[in-house]
């Protein structure tokens, strides 16, 4: 079962990845096939494991103020700043529609 162009477009938009070429798509395809092997195991009555940390203790921290006050350091990373605020575009700039953007998927 091949991954459709619609799904690939959806992924490019959602994860901001660029599949770049047929090889990229192929790698995704193989990854899905690899993961699908999990379906072959009978897991009836078995609780799913969603974290290898499941038997670890979740450490609880005391409610003390121990961090912060490093405005200067944080802003050093900012391309643009205005009076200690980070500057961002007015809103999200969504990826253009499939027809309108340069992506290998266009040809598919």
């Amino acid at each position: 079962q091949k991954v459709t162009v619609e799904v690939l477009d959806h992924l490019e938009r959602l994860a901001l990845v660029d599949f770049r070429d047929a090889e990229g798509v192929q790698r995704l395809q193989e990854a899905i096939q690899f993961a699908d092997q999990l379906q072959e195991v009978n897991t009836d009555g078995v609780e799913p494991m969603d974290s290898v940390l499941e038997d670890r203790c979740l450490y609880l921290r005391e409610d003390d103020v121990t961090e912060g006050n490093c405005t200067k350091e944080l802003l050093k990373n900012a391309k643009e700043k205005v009076e200690e605020y980070f500057v961002a575009p007015p809103g999200n700039i969504p990826l253009p529609k499939l027809e309108e953007r340069e992506t290998f998927l266009q040809g598919s």
Partner: protein, 509 residues
């Protein structure tokens, strides 16, 4: 704006704003909310009534010193980006560390709302892009939240005079712990957004209320009661004006017996009053749309408080796919009770549900019941006392210092004192008349040294805050009741003598 009365029919929902969208004026609202719940008929075509359905998603900021997963401070109004740790800014190499106080706050709230506390709950990542969410995802509890299946009881007055109250219940679907996002300040002139991450990572409790409500008034009453509960517990200060309590409403309408209609989400509601307005407007808008043959879009709308209407938020991104996944850096959160408590565990690492339960303070409903029982006041009175910050203590202090019966003193508190405070926009704590002074005045009244009318005059004088005692004002204005029979006769005779003609006319009639 229409004056509302639950159980009454009202005329217009939307405030007419200049150039704003407004609903067609109607002789009768197409739905009413009555004591028995549900809709009461009057569709314009005379067909079956509409049943409005209202659910709420409430985000309450947890009252804690530090954030949910980091040690930076939680504080309203601080220099931008000064309360931000490396983790809050999502710098690589940082990890979340859960704040114990936030867990306790959520457990307290869950218990107060009659929820089952999940002894094992999980954290997840909810992904979406926005400049005020530096990690590109929010850590929340989507699969197994900390508390589920609770209920909240609230009361409504079913007429305008607050003399008949009815109790309703809304089911609580769940309470989950999650991170708050930073703040975006839109600078339209320079076409940019300024980002302040001080709020990013602050702990939130999301309380999801099932769609058991039927109108704006019910939604507002439910939120008000939740607010009181949170403030009583101390788990959140729940001040809406400071963004500590945010409410989104999910609204739909349907015909009885038919499946639920398409719902819209209403955001940007900044006060409890506006919540009622926004919900009622949206219900009315949907009814009109459907009765005119239109359809309802599953969209997000913002409430415009100036126009009193909801407007669609242009959503260029379509339906959101949040790609939920387990938070890989956090093991499950395990809570204990007296039975499951492990013997040799560091008690700082243990959150004991039973221990918290034993220490829950009296909830508003319990406080009200106690006031009614202890002082013989009406339930409606207890609502007002508990609703107004500091009023219960004021009342109790007056009662301690006066011989007047509490059931009589309450009238002076609720009618005279409270209306003075409201007129001058003062809180109880800012009152120029202390409980001591008021008790003093009520004692004069109780001992029949002054009349009730005179007492009101004295109160008006006391309100000037000139530091005089009630007795001083009484003497100054000569408001003492005359007890002497002879003196009274003399006064009456003088009045009659002075109005001879009128008296003759009266006698002749």
């Amino acid at each position: 704006a229409a004056a509302r009365g639950c159980g009454g029919v009202w005329h217009q929902v939307c405030q007419r704003g200049a150039g704003g969208p407004s609903l067609a004026p109607r002789g009768q609202r197409a739905f009413t909310c009555n004591a028995r719940g549900g809709a009461v008929p009057a569709g314009k075509s005379g067909l079956a009534p509409w049943v409005p359905v209202v659910g709420l998603e409430i985000h309450a900021q947890i009252s804690s010193n530090s954030k949910l997963f980091s040690g930076s401070q939680v504080q309203f109004a601080a220099p931008p980006n000064s309360l931000v740790s490396f983790f809050d800014a999502s710098l690589p190499g940082t990890l979340p560390v859960l704040n114990r106080r936030c867990v306790e706050a959520a457990v307290m709230t869950g218990l107060a709302l009659n929820c089952s506390i999940n002894k094992k709950s999980l954290f997840d990542r909810k992904h979406y892009y926005y400049a005020d969410l530096p990690a590109g995802y929010q850590i929340t509890q989507q699969r197994v939240p900390i508390a589920v299946n609770g209920s909240l009881s609230y009361s409504l007055c079913i007429d305008n005079k607050m003399s008949r109250m009815v109790t309703k219940t809304v089911r609580i679907k769940q309470i989950q712990l999650e991170q708050d996002s930073g703040k975006s300040l839109h600078d339209d002139t320079r076409s940019q957004t300024l980002i302040d991450l001080n709020r990013a990572g602050v702990g939130l409790m999301e309380v999801v209320m099932e769609p058991d409500m039927r109108c704006g008034e019910e939604a507002a009453a439910a939120v008000r009661e939740l607010q009181l509960i949170l403030q009583t517990l101390g788990s959140s200060q729940a001040v809406m004006a400071e963004g500590q309590l945010r409410v989104d409403a999910n609204v739909s309408v349907h015909r009885p017996g038919e499946p639920y209609g398409v719902r819209t989400e209403v955001k940007n509601i900044n006060s409890i009053r506006f919540l009622a307005k926004a919900v009622d407007y949206e219900i009315q808008r949907q009814i009109e749309e459907l009765e005119n043959g239109g359809t309802i879009l599953n969209e997000t709308r913002a409430f415009d408080s100036k126009l009193g209407c909801t407007i669609p938020i242009r959503d260029k991104e379509g339906k959101q796919d949040y790609r939920f996944m387990p938070e890989p850096n956090l093991p499950p959160l395990i809570l204990y009770n007296a039975k499951s408590l492990p013997a040799n565990m560091n008690h700082q690492q243990v959150v004991n549900i039973d221990w918290i339960h034993e220490r829950l303070p009296d909830l508003p409903s319990v406080k009200r019941a106690k006031l009614v029982e202890q002082y013989g006041i009406l339930p409606e009175h207890s609502f007002t006392l508990v609703n107004e910050d500091g009023l219960t203590e004021f009342f109790e202090n007056v009662v301690k210092q006066t011989q007047m019966k509490p059931s009589k003193a309450i009238g002076w508190i609720l009618n005279d004192l409270l209306s003075y405070l409201k007129q001058h926009s003062l809180t109880v704590k800012e009152s120029l008349v202390s409980s001591f002074l008021l008790a003093d005045l009520l004692n004069l009244l109780e001992k029949k040294e002054i009349s009730s009318t005179a007492a009101k005059q004295v109160l008006a004088e006391l309100w000037k805050g000139e530091g005089k005692t009630p007795l001083e004002i009484v003497k100054e204005k000569k408001l003492e009741l005359i007890q002497n029979q002879e003196e009274l006769e003399q006064i009456c005779q003088a009045v009659i003598d002075g109005q001879e003609n009128e008296v003759i006319m009266m006698v002749l009639e």
